[in-house]
């Protein structure tokens, strides 16, 4: 193995690792706030990447139908609960949020597709289509089960993942798609040819991580999210609405997933179901971080990226095997090191 290859593999590993780190942060956020193991994370990656690729090729992505239908479903559930609680004053807000807003986004996409807008405008439209699916998903699938066990919430996550993946096949088809790179540049860094897209990925990840840090440290909603993650009962007692926090965490996770998808779609060919395995590696990263600490999760994700990159060089057929098996010793080490008294589940 030459230094060039090492450097090249490292670049590849860091690029992927940066994406995994973003996903790990999102998974961690969702888990600590809602106890949901967020399997459908992968779908946000795929939806965003494939929607962007379709728009670039001048086609209307089916994402807007999912957005409209999901919004309608969420609206129906909200209206039903508003009627039950005799709180009809909430109706206009519900309709604006779950019906009018999705319709406006759908309209904008329809208008924009034939006009072949600049790439940044298309990226914005993709975000507007994909990100609202997060809170809608929370409202429809998870909110009614907010007090269920982690196992049941996980099963719901799997079911939602199946639905989203099935819809993905219906609307995006089975072919792999790739979007245009943000820039085609290459430049020399020592022995290494660095592609501009890799830099984009790493830079965007860093910016996003910094933005998240700013949100959690500086804004009242970010602090409320942290408070909910730290102490759910305490959060309820100071009047932080659990449902709002759930939706907020899903919104952020969807945003992170969508951005990740947009960032990697020029590098990797994505299929309707590729998101899952990418999300899974983010999950592994989060687990390596012990499901508690954000910096550790990011570090864990970076490790996964590097591990995968080098494993693919030595034994590409066993790439996934190696990545997932090598994690076990790390897990054992982590679990032996943390000798805390195991917290028991409540009956």
């Amino acid at each position: 193995m030459t230094p060039e290859i090492v450097a090249w593999l490292a670049q590849d590993g860091i690029t992927n690792g940066a994406i995994y780190a973003l996903l790990a942060l999102a998974l961690l956020l969702v888990f600590t706030v809602t106890r949901v193991i967020f399997v459908p994370q992968g779908e946000f990656i795929a939806y965003a990447a494939l929607s962007l690729a379709l728009m670039e090729s001048g086609r209307v992505p089916g994402t807007i139908y999912i957005l409209l239908a999901g919004g309608a479903l969420a609206a129906a559930m909200e209206v039903a609960s508003a009627v039950r609680q005799h709180a009809l004053a909430r109706l206009p807000r519900i309709l604006a949020l779950y019906v009018v807003l999705p319709a406006a986004v759908a309209g904008a996409v329809w208008w924009a597709v034939p006009r072949n807008l600049a790439q940044w405008a298309q990226v914005l439209l993709v975000l507007a289509m994909v990100v609202p699916l997060g809170p809608i998903m929370y409202r429809v699938a998870y909110q009614p089960l907010a007090s269920a066990s982690v196992l049941v919430l996980f099963i719901v996550s799997m079911a939602v993942h199946y639905v989203m993946m099935g819809l993905s096949l219906v609307f995006f088809g089975g072919e792999g798609l790739r979007s245009r790179p943000f820039s085609d540049g290459q430049f020399q860094l020592g022995v290494l040819n660095v592609s501009a897209q890799s830099l984009w990925v790493v830079a965007a990840s860093l910016v996003l991580i910094a933005a998240l840090w700013f949100l959690f440290e500086r804004s009242i909603y970010g602090k409320a999210l942290r408070a909910t993650a730290v102490n759910r009962v305490g959060a309820r007692l100071v009047g932080i609405p659990a449902n709002l926090m759930g939706q907020l965490s899903f919104l952020l996770a969807a945003f992170i997933g969508a951005v990740s998808g947009i960032l990697i779609s020029p590098i990797t060919t994505l299929y309707y179901d590729t998101g899952f395995i990418i999300g899974l590696k983010g999950f592994v990263g989060a687990i390596l971080g012990g499901m508690v600490s954000y910096p550790l999760a990011a570090l864990g994700a970076l490790t996964v990226g590097l591990l995968e990159s080098f494993a693919s060089f030595w034994a590409s057929a066993y790439k996934e095997s190696i990545v997932f098996t090598l994690i076990i010793p790390v897990l054992v080490w982590l679990s032996l090191r943390s000798r805390h008294v195991e917290e028991e589940e409540q009956e």
Partner: protein, 242 residues
Amino acid sequence: MSATLEVRELSVCYGKVEALHRASLRVPEGSIVTVIGPNGAGKTTMLGALMGLLPYTGHAEYAGADLADASVEARVARGLCLVPERRELFGELTVEDNLLLGAFQRHTRGDRTVGADTEAVYQRFPRLQERRRQLAGTLSGGERQMLALGRALMAKPRLLLLDEPSLGLAPRFVREIFHIIADLHQTGVSILLVEQNARAALQVADHGYVIETGEIVLEGTARELAANPRVVESYLGGGASA
């Protein structure tokens, strides 16, 4: 005198076990009412139900409106605040952030006076000001209770539900906490105080209830209860004070 809280025949069940049986009580506007009784009698359960954390049957009316169907956050919005026995602080956040989040709903409503109230809490609890940048998890027992109280005050409560505020505190702190409770009372907040420290509770309260195995067995003015032989015997440590 109108009642801030009017509870009629409140029952709470955990599965088939009834932890609270048809309890009725009343907190008049601006008064301190205490509920005393042994561990496991149902005191914490009652507060949990009033706060919306536990489902109940019966009737609870707060500030003239029925509480049924109101979510926890709706109750907080209406000025009902619980300082729980376990404090439930945000251990990994700073003291200042804990206080700030106490006023979460006021923030989201655009209330601009939150900053001034933080200062007021610091004035009431100077120790918290000294430790404003410290994580809540590193505080001592007494400081935790102060922070829990301070956090509740940040919501501008009309009725404070206090669950064992003296729990695990040094006598010196207990005294301080009860002074603060008496002090809060002066500012017009109504207080429902659940305590195992019956003597201190009855000294500060206007009215009291005794709860045993899920049922209210005695009620009266604090003075009456403090003189009641049964209360003296069971809760004030008849032998010890003799």
